[in-house]
């Protein structure tokens, strides 16, 4: 397996804690030698999207993914429709940004609901609705299964096997290359069926996110670790993902309110580059 250089890799801007305007982030990521950047909607919406897209292109950066979907499941039809519509607008922005994929963090249970199967059905329905629009924008949809700890409030889609099943069963999407998967080691590392399921995801993997699981974890949302600082065997998972046909950018996404987000961007980027080479 080749050693990763920054040019093979993307920085998800969440890693830098949203400390600076997107223009400064783009410059910092390019200066550090990375090949790509994955921005968030909070940095893009209500700004001049075309200008941001131009800035990213001029900096020589690709955009593997745009983060992330509005949560889909809602307590009523009007809420569901509003969530689908919000995603349509974001997917159009993803197209303007030249993003390869739109990252679908699908949402958990609507308020008051205990019916996770119904939430999943809403996700499948919305994915089918959004897929045609995404194609017309030149953007692929990447379903990202999240760690089961977020099943109630962030993603009713937990297992990789479940996300693959959804790819295969969304209406009209059975073999559609515009619908695929985003895999994040943080969410999947513990799964006893990981090797089997990554192999089954062959050709469907649109994004690959890396970080690490710290022991202890102070906060399951914002205490993720730098690759090498935790218990995930990241190189083993990368090998499986590449074996399954993924040839895109390995993307660093670290939510770390008490550590990396407090450091200067250039320092965090330098450590990312080092750990991508030594521990990824």
């Amino acid at each position: 397996m080749r050693t990763l250089s920054p040019a093979d890799c993307a920085i998800n801007t969440a890693t830098l804690g949203f400390q600076a305007p997107i223009g400064e982030v783009i410059e910092a990521v390019a200066r550090a030698g990375f090949g790509a950047i994955a921005p968030w909607r909070r940095e893009v919406e209500s700004h001049d999207v075309a200008a941001i897209a131009r800035h990213i292109r001029d900096a020589g950066l690709a955009v593997p993914g745009y983060c992330r979907s509005t949560y889909i499941p809602a307590a009523d039809k009007a809420g569901f429709a509003a969530n689908v519509e919000a995603n349509r607008r974001a997917i159009a922005d993803a197209g303007v940004l030249g993003a390869k994929s739109f990252v679908m963090v699908v949402g958990g249970l609507p308020a008051g609901s205990k019916d996770i199967a119904a939430a999943r059905a809403q996700v499948a329905e919305a994915t089918g609705l959004l897929l045609r629009h995404a194609k017309s924008c030149g953007v692929r949809l990447a379903l990202e299964p999240l760690h089961p700890v977020y099943a109630a409030d962030r993603s009713c889609l937990s297992l990789l096997s479940e996300a693959i099943d959804m790819c295969e069963t969304v209406e009209g999407a059975a073999a559609d290359p515009w619908l695929g998967l985003c895999l994040d080691v943080y969410h999947l590392w513990w799964d006893p069926n990981l090797a089997r399921d990554i192999a089954r995801a062959w050709g469907r993997i649109l994004g690959f996110h890396v970080c690490d699981w710290l022991v202890p974890t102070a906060d399951v949302l914002n205490d993720r670790g730098m690759m090498g600082d935790g218990v995930i065997d990241v190189p083993r998972i990368r090998a499986m993902v590449e074996e399954a046909g993924f040839a895109g950018f390995t993307e660093v996404e670290i939510f770390s309110a008490q550590n990396w987000w407090k450091r200067p961007m250039d320092e965090t980027l330098a450590v990312c580059a080092e750990r991508l080479a030594s521990a990824t």
Copy 2:
């Protein structure tokens, strides 16, 4: 499905926060009308186990499970052997207590390890070693899969399917009624394959624990909720568990440092009885 009365149910003593000596806890649980109690080793070891067993019997309480195993995976053979030996002693105590089962919370990764498959192999080996001893003590071993959020530090056994596989593959245990499962709604509620796997667990279910998943959850270890206060459809899961042949005590196990553990035992027990009837 029948409405649960306290006589159908057990109180796992962790629910009461270990505020009082085991003797007082036994009296409180019996006074509240429960049919069974599941004690922890911290309340039993270094005390007169036979006297505690007599007290429980005299109070008219059954013991569905004894909590819990010493974590098994270790960094070296001596550590592994010591963990197995600690479990042998605890299983002997479980026999003295008349416990139907010894609850196996199997442990996570040994310090310094990133090899979860190796940890799982140690668990399977230890389970095989302990099974013969457990039989001789008249105690069943109940493998309890824990929520994947604990995979690193508490249980490398996460999915119910994985625990069933282990029951079927532990050496000499393929159809052994002395090896089974403990199911806890907190750990399993999110699993998209839950209905399939509970059906597959037919005849293997030795324990059934209830509580609820709060949104938000302040602390994934000690902020569990009372049945009805969270997002788990507990009655639906109980129906599946009973359909799979479970006819034992429905056991309340709530780790709640900031809420239930701060209340008087009699109050918590009264709310448990009410919620077992109305929300379980």
